[in-house]
Amino acid sequence: MAEGRTIELRVKRQDGPGAPPYWQSFTIPWKPQHNVLSALMEVRTNPVTTSGERVPAPVWDASCLEEVCGSCAMVVNGQVRMGCTALVDKLRQPIVLEPMTKFPVVRDLMVDRSRMFEALRRLSVWVPLDGTYDLGPGPRLSPELQQFRYALDRCITCGCCLEVCPQVHRDDPPGTGFVGAAAIGQALLMNLHPTGQLNKDDRLDALMGPGGVASCGNAQNCVEVCPKEIPLTHAIGEIGRQTTLKWLKDIFAR
C-alpha cells in the first residue's frame, strides 16, 4: 500500500542574511509517523532536489524533537508552528516550509531569536537570589498559584507568539521593540512569586517604557498559536493592570 507513496517538501531557502531567497523541492519516500523534521533529516542524507539536482542540504534549528526545547519553530503551510509536532500525515502536500518572518534569517529555516532572550534581560526576569548556598526552604505557595505559575512557565521561547504579532517587526530597533507576549508572561511569572515580587518594580518600570506592555495592540493572535496554550492574553491583561497601579502609585508618591 505504501509502495510509491511519497512526501514532497517545498523549502524556502536563503544562503545567508541579506541573500535573496529561492525555492527548492525535495521528494522522499513516505513512511509512517514522519514529522516535518524527520522528513528534513531524510532529505539531508541525500540532498537531491525533485528535479535531480544535488544541492547543499537545507539547514534548520532543532534539538529535542519533542516540543520542549523551542528550537524548531517555522512556518509550515503558511502557519507558524513547531516542526517536530507537525505530523506529515496531517499536512497538505506539497508541504511548504519557510523561516519565521519576524526574526532575521541566518540561513534557510534557521533564524536568530536573540531578541527574545534580550527581552527577558530588559524585564529583569529573575528572582534576586542572595546566593546559591543553603538558606533553607523557599516561601510557601498555594497549589492554585503554583498551577497558574506553572502554566506560564511552560513557555519554550519558540517565538510563535512574536511571529503572529502585528506589533513585532523584523527591523525593530534592538532594545526598544515590543518585548512580546512570551516575555510579558515570564515577567508575570516572576511578579507572582513571593520573592520575585521584591523586584517587581524593576519589571514594571521596563514594561511602562518603550516596547513595553502599552505596545500590545490587543490582536490576541499570540494566544491562538502558542503550542503550550499559555494564557498569554490573561498575562498581558494582568501586567497592564499592574503597570496602571504602579503609574498611579508613582503619581501619588511624587
Binding site: 544562503d15 513512511k31 509512517p32 509517523q33 514522519h34 514529522n35 523534521l37 524527520s38 533529516m41 539531508r44 542524507t45 541525500n46 544535488r54 547543499p56 542540504a57 539547514v59 534549528d61 532543532a62 534539538s63 529535542c64 524533537l65 519533542e66 516540543e67 520542549v68 526545547c69 523551542g70 528550537s71 509536532t85 505530523l87 541566518v106 531569536r113 536573540s114 532572550f117 527577558l120 534581560r121 529583569s124 526576569v125 529573575w126 528572582v127 534576586p128 537570589l129 546566593g131 546559591t132 543553603d134 538558606l135 526552604p137 523557599g138 510557601r140 497549589p143 503554583q146 498551577q147 505559575r149 506553572y150 512557565d153 511552560r154 521561547t157 511569572l189 516572576m190 512569586h193 520573592t195
Partner: protein
C-alpha cells in the same frame, strides 16, 4: 596576571550551575553552548528531582537515598561522592524553590513529592511533568542576572573543538568553532568545565536530543582524558518508538499509578507487579527493561506480535493526571494521536542515559589538570544503573561543587599560560575543518551515523553477547575507515551543519568503541550491563571501575578499585518480597 577567567562548555543544568557558582565567587565566566542555553537537553527531563526531606513522614533520610542509589547502581559507584550528593539533595531543592521553580505543592503550600523507580519512598519533587525545563529556566534566569552584571559572556552556537593543553599537561583553555561563521578561535582560561551531556546519538535513535553527540567528551578522551565505565548504558523502559527518535514517557507516569501490561489469554497481565511484588511497576529501569524484553522476545507476548507493551493510566483520575503528568501525556497525544487518559499507551524501551563518562576525581576534575567535567558527561554518581530523578540532582550537585573547585584550582596554579600553546592548536583545528570542507567521497556522514546507531542499539544495549560485541567493534572500524571517504553536500562557510557533523561523527565513533570494547571485556552482569553468558555479578573480578585511555591503536583499558567503604556490597534482588534493601 589579570583576574582569572573561567570557561564552561555546555549550558544544561550542570553547566549553568557551574557558571553561577563561579560568577558568585566573583570571577568572570565564558559560557559556550551548541544551542542557546535555554534549549539544552536538560529541558527534556520530565519526572522530577530526588531529595530525601521526609516530608511525607515515611522515615526517609539522605542515608536511605544514598543506600537506594548505591544498591540501584549495583555497587559500582564510589560511595563517598554519592553520599555527599544525597546529603546535599534537600539544600538543592530548597535553592531551586527559592529561585522560583514552580514545584507542585501540597494543600499546605509545601513542596509535594512523588514516588520514582528503585525506592519505596516519596522522594521526588516535581514541576508538573516538565521539571527539567522549569529547572533550566530558573538557572538560565540567574545566569542572565550575572550576564547583565557583566560577569558572564555567552557564546551560543559555538562548539568545543579541543582543550588547549600545555607542555606540562595542564588545560589552559579551549578552541571552539563558531557554528555560524565556521571559524575556530582559542579562549584561554584558568580552568575549563565540560558539562556537555551524554552520547545518545551514538545509538542513533534514543530519548536524547539531537545535540547529544558526546562529541566534546570524545574530543577530550582523544586528548588524554580517561573515559570511565563507558559500557554502562541505561535503556529506559518506556518510550514511544518513532522514525526519528524514541520519545520518553516518564517514570513519573508509573509513580502516579501507571501500570505496565500485555494481553495474555485475553486478559491484561501485569507482569512487573507479579514478578516484583514489593516495587511493582517501580523497579529500577534496567530491571523493568529486561522484563519487557523477556515478555516480548522470549515469551512472544508483545502487542499484536510487535515489540511493544502497554503503559496504562486510563484507570486514573483525569484531573490528577492533567495536573501532575499532563506535559508527558501531551507528548504522547501529539505524536501518536491517542488520548492516554482513555487508551493505554504503547511503549517500548529506548536508549536513555550513559552512566559512564569522563573520569573525574571527587572535585570533578579529570585526569587532565585544569579540565573538569560535570553532569551526564562525568561517570561519578550512578554506578551501573541510574535511578530515576537522580540525574537532575547529580547535574546540579556536580556543578555546585565543581564551580568552587575550579576557583580553588586556579588559585593554586596562578601562572600565566604561555600564549604559544594557543596558536598551533587553532591552526590544527582549522585545518581539520578545512579538510572536511574538501571531502568529496561517495559516503554520506548521515548514512554512516545511521549504521553506527543501528549496530550499537542492536548489540550494545539491553542484552550483550561477546561474539556480537566483537562484530560490532569490527563494524565500527569499518565505519571509521569509510569516514575517510565521506563527501559533504555543503562546502559553504556559513552555518554549515555538515562540517561540524562530520567531525562529531568521528568523535562518536571513538566513544562507540570505548562503549563496545568495555562491554566486551566485562564478563559479568551488573546493573544495566547484562550478558546471558555471564548472568551473575562477579565482585571478585569486576567490582572495578573501567578506565579507557585513548591510543592510536584503540582504547587501552585499566581498572581501579571501587570505594565501597560505607555500604558493603550485597546481592541486588528486587524480586524479594520485602525490601531488606530499604534498611538504613
Amino acid at each position: 596576571m589579570a583576574r582569572p577567567r573561567f570557561i564552561v562548555v555546555g549550558g544544561g543544568l550542570a553547566g549553568l550551575m557551574t557558571t553561577i557558582r563561579v560568577a558568585e565567587a566573583g570571577f568572570p565566566v565564558d559560557l559556550f553552548s551548541v544551542v542557546p542555553v535555554k534549549r539544552s537537553h536538560s529541558v527534556c527531563a520530565q519526572g522530577g528531582i530526588n531529595a530525601a526531606v521526609n516530608w511525607k513522614g515515611e522515615g526517609d533520610s539522605p542515608w536511605r537515598h544514598f543506600d537506594d542509589t548505591i544498591y540501584g547502581g549495583d555497587f559500582l559507584a564510589n560511595q563517598p561522592p554519592v553520599k555527599a550528593m544525597c546529603e546535599a539533595g534537600p539544600g538543592i531543592i530548597f535553592l531551586l524553590d527559592r529561585m522560583g521553580v514552580p514545584f507542585s505543592r501540597t494543600a499546605e503550600g509545601l513542596l509535594d513529592f512523588r514516588r520514582f523507580g528503585g525506592t519505596l519512598f516519596h522522594r521526588t519533587a516535581f514541576a508538573g511533568a516538565t521539571t527539567g525545563q522549569q529547572l533550566v529556566y530558573a538557572l538560565d534566569e540567574q545566569v542572565r542576572r550575572h550576564e547583565a552584571a557583566g560577569l558572564v559572556r555567552k557564546f551560543e552556537k559555538w562548539e568545543l573543538c579541543s582543550a588547549v593543553i600545555d607542555e606540562a599537561g595542564r588545560c589552559r583553555g579551549i578552541t571552539a568553532l563558531d557554528l555560524t561563521r565556521i571559524e575556530v578561535q582559542a579562549f584561554p582560561a584558568a580552568a575549563v568545565m565540560l558539562a556537555t551531556g551524554g552520547p545518545g546519538m551514538v545509538f542513533g535513535k534514543s530519548t536524547n536530543s539531537v545535540v547529544n553527540t558526546g562529541s566534546a567528551a570524545g574530543a577530550a578522551y582523544q586528548q588524554g582524558a580517561y573515559y570511565a565505565n563507558g559500557e554502562f548504558i541505561q535503556v529506559h523502559p518506556t518510550a514511544i518508538p518513532g522514525p526519528d527518535k524514541l520519545r520518553l514517557i516518564s517514570e513519573s507516569i508509573r509513580g502516579e499509578g501507571g501500570r505496565v501490561w500485555v494481553p495474555r489469554d485475553g486478559r491484561p497481565w501485569y507482569f512487573l507487579e507479579e514478578w516484583y511484588p514489593t516495587y511493582g511497576n517501580l523497579v529500577p529501569r534496567d530491571v523493568a527493561t529486561r522484563a519487557i524484553f523477556k515478555v516480548v522476545f522470549e515469551m512472544g507476548l508483545g502487542i499484536d506480535g510487535q515489540p511493544m507493551v502497554y503503559l496504562d493510566v486510563s484507570h486514573l483520575d483525569p484531573a490528577m493526571l492533567e495536573r501532575k503528568v499532563g506535559g508527558v501525556l501531551e507528548i504522547y497525544e501529539k505524536f501518536v494521536g491517542d488520548d492516554p487518559k482513555k487508551v493505554p499507551m504503547k511503549i517500548f524501551p529506548g536508549m536513555h542515559y550513559s552512566m559512564g563518562g569522563l573520569w573525574v576525581d571527587y572535585a570533578q576534575m579529570t585526569n587532565v589538570p585544569g579540565l573538569f567535567a560535570a553532569g551526564e558527561v562525568d561517570y561519578q554518581f550512578h554506578g551501573a544503573n541510574r535511578l530515576g530523578a537522580n540525574s537532575l540532582l547529580s547535574c546540579l550537585y556536580s556543578g555546585q561543587i565543581a564551580g568552587p573547585a575550579m576557583v580553588a584550582y586556579a588559585q593554586g596554579h596562578a601562572s600565566a599560560a604561555s600564549d604559544g600553546v594557543f596558536e598551533p592548536e587553532v591552526k590544527r583545528q582549522q585545518q581539520a575543518y578545512d579538510r572536511i570542507l574538501g571531502m568529496d567521497g561517495p559516503e554520506s556522514a548521515y548514512v554512516l551515523a545511521r549504521e553506527m546507531g543501528e549496530w550499537m542499539t542492536a548489540n550494545v544495549t539491553v542484552v550483550r553477547d561477546n561474539k556480537k560485541l566483537a562484530e560490532t567493534d569490527q563494524k565500527l572500524l569499518e565505519l571509521k575507515d569509510r569516514w575517510g571517504r565521506i563527501g559533504i553536500s555543503d562546502r559553504g562557510r556559513w552555518a554549515n551543519h555538515d562540517v561540524s557533523f562530520v567531525k562529531q561523527l568521528w568523535n562518536m565513533l571513538e566513544l562507540a568503541r570505548v562503549i563496545t570494547l568495555g562491554a566486551l571485556r566485562r564478563d559479568e552482569s551488573r546493573g544495566a550491563h547484562y550478558k546471558p553468558e555471564f548472568p551473575n555479578r562477579d565482585d571478585a573480578r569486576w567490582l572495578r571501575t573501567t578506565r579507557a585511555r585513548w591510543t592510536s591503536d584503540g582504547p587501552q583499558f585499566s581498572y581501579e578499585p571501587v570505594d565501597v567503604s560505607l555500604i558493603p556490597p550485597r546481592p541486588r534482588k528486587y524480586d524479594a518480597t520485602i525490601g531488606a534493601e530499604a534498611r538504613g
